[in-house]
Amino acid sequence: MRSTLSSIAGQCGDVALFGFRILRDSFRPPWEGAEIAKQIFEIGWRSLPLIAAAGFAVGAVMSMHTRASLERFGAEAMIPAGLAIALFKETGPLVTGLLFSGRVGAGIGAELGAMRVSEQIDALESLAVDSFKYLVVTRVMACIAVLPILTTVMNFTGILGGYIAETVISGMSFALYWERAWSFVDFVDYVPPTLKTCIFGFIIGTIASYLGYNTTGGTAGVGQASTRSVVFASILVILSNVVLVKAIFFLFPGAEG
C-alpha cells in the first residue's frame, strides 16, 4: 500500500516536471512553427465536426430543459438568455474539454506511444532533432491554441441547436432569438470561461504526451498509454474545472451573478 502511494506520488512529480519542461522549452528556439501548424490542423480542424455536432445536440437538449423550467414561471422570453448563459459559462467549455480529452488525448497517447516503441523517437534524436520539442511541445501548444476556438464553435452551434429546438415549438425568429440570447451575456460570462479551456488544453496535452512519450512494453503498452491518457485527462479536466471556476469568481467578482 505504501509503495503504491509513493509510486503514485512519484508519477505525479514526474508529470509536473514534464509539464514544467514543456513550459520552459516553449520559450526557447527552435520554435518548430511548421510542426505546430500541422498539429493545429490535425488536432483542431479535424475535431471540428465532432465538436459542432455535439454542440448542436447539447444546445437543443438544454433548450428543451430550459423551456420546461422557465415555462412554469411564465418566463419563456428568458429561454434564449438562460441557455446562452448556462452554455457559455459552463457547459460549452466543459463538454468541449471532455470531448477533446477523448479524441485528442487518445490520439496523442497512441501516436507518441507507437513512435516510442518503434524507436521513431530515438530515430529523431539520432538525426539531431530535439524529440521533446518536436513532438511534445508542439502538440501541447496546439492543444492550448485550439481549445478556446473549439469551445467557441461549441457555444455557437449550441445556440443554433437551441434555436432550432425553440422555433419548432414557438416559431420564434432567429433574429429575435439571437438578440435575446445575448441580452444578458456580459464579458465575464463569455471570455474567462472560454479562455480557461487553454488550461484544459495544457492539461490534456501534457498528460497524453507524458504517457505516450514514456511508453514501455510494446504494443500492449501503446494501448495502455492511449486508454490512460483519456482517463487521466478527463478526470483532471473535471477536477481542475472546480479550481478554475473558483478562480474566475475570485478574479471577476461579477461572474458570480
Binding site: 521513431q120 530515438d122 530515430a123 534524436e125 539520432s126 539531431a128
Partner: protein
C-alpha cells in the same frame, strides 16, 4: 591510438539487475570498419546506441572524435549526431511520412538546400541503396528489406563521416545483402567513412570488417582481423568464424 574516431573506455551498463555490458573497451581508427559479432541479446544494439547518447552507460567513457559523449549537453550531442549516420535494427522509419520524406528529413532539418536539390539528393541516396521510383510510397507499403535500405539511405543523407549500422543486412535476401556489403565497402574506400557494423552474418563481417569484435557475456571476448580471430584462443570465437551463414 591518436586518431581513434570511437573509443569505449571501461563501459558498464545494466538494466535493473540485468548486467548487459561489463567493462567493455575498444576503439575504431579513422576510416576503418569494426564489425560487432555476437548472439542475440548480448548487447550489440545497446553498445552502438551508446555511441550517440541514446543510452547512457552506468560508468566508463565513450569518446567520439576525442570528445566524451557521456559528458555532453544537448547542444554538443546534437553536433556529434549530425556527423554520424545511424541505421536502426528495425529501420525506425517515420511511418506518418513517405519514404522520400524520410530520407529528406535530415536534409530539411540541417541543410539550406532548395526543394529540387533535396529531391535530387534523395533520389540519389535511394538509388545508391538500390531503390528507385518509391519516393511517394509510405513505409508501410514496402517490404521489411526495403525499409532497411530506406533506413540506410536516411542515415547517409547528410554524408556523415561516421556510420553506425545495426544489422544492415538482416532480413534481406542474399543478393541484396551482398549489395549492401558492396555499398558499405564502397563508402569506406571512396569516402573513408568510419564504420561500426553490427551483424550476425559472418561472411559479411569478413568482407566489411577491418576488425571484428566478438561480444559474449557482456565482454569483448576477442577482437582482431578475421585472420586473427580464426586463430583465437577462445574456442567459441574460432567456431563463430567457421560458420558460413549467420549466428
Amino acid at each position: 591510438m591518436a586518431d581513434a574516431v570511437i573509443r569505449f573506455e571501461n563501459v558498464y551498463k545494466s538494466f535493473g539487475a540485468h548486467k548487459v555490458l561489463e567493462n567493455v573497451s575498444f576503439e575504431v581508427p579513422r576510416g576503418s570498419a569494426l564489425c560487432i559479432l555476437g548472439r542475440s541479446g548480448t548487447g550489440k544494439s545497446v553498445t552502438i546506441k551508446q555511441m550517440i547518447g541514446l543510452i547512457k552507460p552506468d560508468s566508463g567513457h565513450i569518446y567520439v572524435e576525442g570528445r566524451d559523449v557521456t559528458a555532453m549537453n544537448a547542444a554538443e550531442l546534437s553536433r556529434v549526431r549530425r556527423r554520424i549516420g545511424f541505421l536502426f535494427q528495425y529501420s525506425a522509419l517515420f511511418d506518418s511520412i513517405s519514404v522520400g520524406e524520410n530520407v529528406a528529413f535530415p536534409l530539411r532539418r540541417h541543410t539550406n538546400l532548395e526543394e529540387d536539390e533535396i529531391r535530387d539528393v534523395v533520389e540519389k541516396k535511394l538509388a545508391r541503396v538500390g531503390l528507385r521510383g518509391i519516393y511517394d510510397k509510405m513505409p508501410s507499403q514496402i517490404s521489411g528489406g526495403m525499409q532497411k535500405r530506406v533506413g540506410l539511405a536516411r542515415a547517409l543523407a547528410l554524408d556523415p563521416p561516421i556510420l553506425l549500422a545495426d544489422e544492415p543486412s538482416s532480413g534481406l535476401d542474399p543478393i541484396t545483402s551482398q549489395e549492401i556489403d558492396e555499398l558499405l565497402l564502397d563508402l569506406k574506400h571512396t569516402e573513408h567513412t568510419t564504420m561500426v557494423v553490427v551483424t550476425h552474418n559472418i561472411p559479411s563481417a569478413r568482407r566489411i570488417g577491418d576488425e571484428i569484435a566478438v561480444l559474449e557475456g557482456g565482454r569483448i571476448l576477442d577482437r582482431g582481423s578475421p585472420a586473427d580471430l580464426e586463430q583465437s584462443e577462445h574456442a567459441i570465437v574460432r567456431e563463430f568464424m567457421t560458420l558460413e551463414g549467420g549466428i
